[in-house]
């Protein structure tokens, strides 16, 4: 691997390094570089939105427009996919979108760390989302929520098989949600790093891969947004099941 010829492996950017060792009741809760970037995400997101909404004008400025656009964007996603009942969970869904988008975008910054390129993070988020939605559905519909697993109008002899398949399908939700985001972020950033390594290794001739890196970076920005969008819209779609278990 050409990039490996450089001192750094393209996977080094994913290393977790402990900045402050912490321990809570035998559980390792060290403050890592990942945690540092999470704090940066929270700080930057909050700062941006507080500044953007500080002067609430009827005719919005540029920052306020972006803030309102993101609000309307997520609200539209939630309303279209989960219905009116879903709007109650807007703050949660909005936070998911902003957190993932910010993590993906900050990952584009050189020498930064991409929080969402780690399975631990994406799996935790998707598990919490799916578990939360399942609990919500059970609370709302009780036993009726299990209609999710049995499409109506199925012949009796086929029902057991279909129920097993539907249960597996339901269980794939957190897996696909987590793996999609993590794999996309990891693949994108690894590729960028590999080609950036080419640029350095080739010196003057590195102009060609440099152009490629620029194009790739543009593509990665698009994918960073797209993955945040997909993560959010799937959350909305799954949330819909909690309200309407009968497909």
């Amino acid at each position: 691997m050409a990039a490996g010829g450089e001192a750094h492996s393209p996977l080094e950017q994913f290393e977790i390094t402990r900045l402050v060792d912490l321990n809570l009741g035998g559980v390792d809760i060290s403050f890592t570089n990942s945690a540092l970037w999470m704090v940066i995400i929270v700080a930057l997101s909050t700062l941006f939105f507080v500044i953007a909404t500080s002067r609430a004008a009827i005719v919005p400025g540029r920052l306020q427009s972006i803030a309102e656009l993101s609000y309307e964007f997520v609200a539209g996603l939630l309303r279209d996919n989960a219905g009116k009942e879903g709007m109650k969970y807007f703050p949660f869904v909005f936070t998911i979108f902003i957190f993932v988008l910010m993590a993906n975008m900050l990952g584009m910054v050189p020498y930064s760390f991409t929080v969402t390129s780690h399975l631990a993070v994406t799996a935790t988020m998707s598990l919490i989302i799916i578990l939360g939605i399942t609990v919500l559905g059970l609370v709302k519909h009780g036993f009726g929520f299990f209609h999710v697993f049995l499409p109506s109008g199925v012949p009796m002899w086929l029902a057991p098989l279909l129920i097993v398949i539907e249960v597996i399908s339901y269980l794939t939700r957190p897996v696909s949600l987590a793996v999609r985001l993590f794999a996309n972020m990891m693949a994108g950033h690894t590729t960028l790093k590999v080609f950036a390594g080419f640029v350095v290794a080739l010196g003057v001739a590195g102009v060609v891969p440099l152009l490629f890196v620029v194009a790739l970076t543009a593509l990665e920005v698009l994918i960073a947004f797209l993955q945040a969008y997909i993560f959010t819209i799937l959350t909305c779609i799954y949330l819909h099941d909690a309200f309407h278990p009968h497909h």
Binding site: I41, I58, Q64, F99, T191
Partner: protein, 190 residues
């Protein structure tokens, strides 16, 4: 294409232990499970903090602004609609007034015309009556003159007939026979 990149990444991960530059860590950093607890812990903390910060500091304000704008737009729209209605009402009132004025003008003109026509008719009738009266009087006069002339003609003829008879025939004709002869002659010719 992305699958290829992912494959590349995984391949690198598989090879990296072999190339390991004195690294004590092996394999994909993402699959080192001893690194999971701190990430999960700080993820939950930071996510909850962001959720609380956004939903207290930002979202109510943003919602207020957006809904305020919507309300203002709707209010402006309603004002515009009511203004339009008012304008339409004003136009209708104006047109009504205009129609009324026109009608009144027409009525006045018609009345004046009727008055003038009535006056003219009266004068005409008066004139005609006067003319008819005069014509009648003239006729009476003509008839009287005619009768007088006729009577005169008879007496002259009578005189002439007696004189002619005396002179030519030497006979004295009495008045009665002369008159009947004249009348007979007049009746034949006249």
């Amino acid at each position: 294409m992305r699958q290829i990149f992912l494959g590349l990444a995984l391949a690198t991960a598989a090879v990296s232990p072999a190339l390991a530059e004195g690294a004590e860590k092996k394999g994909l950093p993402q699959l080192r499970f001893e690194d999971f607890p701190p990430q999960i812990f700080w993820l939950v903390i930071s996510f909850v903090v962001l959720l609380v910060l956004l939903s207290t500091l930002v979202l109510p304000k943003l919602q207020g602004t957006i809904e305020g704008r919507k309300a203002k737009l709707e209010g402006d729209l309603a004002t515009a609609v009511s203004l339009k209605d008012e304008a339409a009402a004003a136009i209708a009132a104006y047109e009504k007034a205009l129609a009324a004025a026109r009608q009144r003008a027409n009525a006045i003109a018609a009345e004046a015309k009727a008055q003038i026509e009535a006056a003219a008719a009266a004068r005409k009738a008066e004139l005609e009556a006067k003319l008819a009266e005069e014509a009648k009087a003239a006729e009476v006069r003509i008839n009287a003159t005619k009768a007088a002339a006729l009577a005169e003609v008879r007496s002259i003829a009578l005189e002439a007939a007696r004189a002619i008879a005396t002179k030519v025939a030497g006979i004295e004709v009495d008045d009665a026979s002369a008159a009947s002869a004249v009348d007979a002659a007049l009746g034949r010719n006249g």
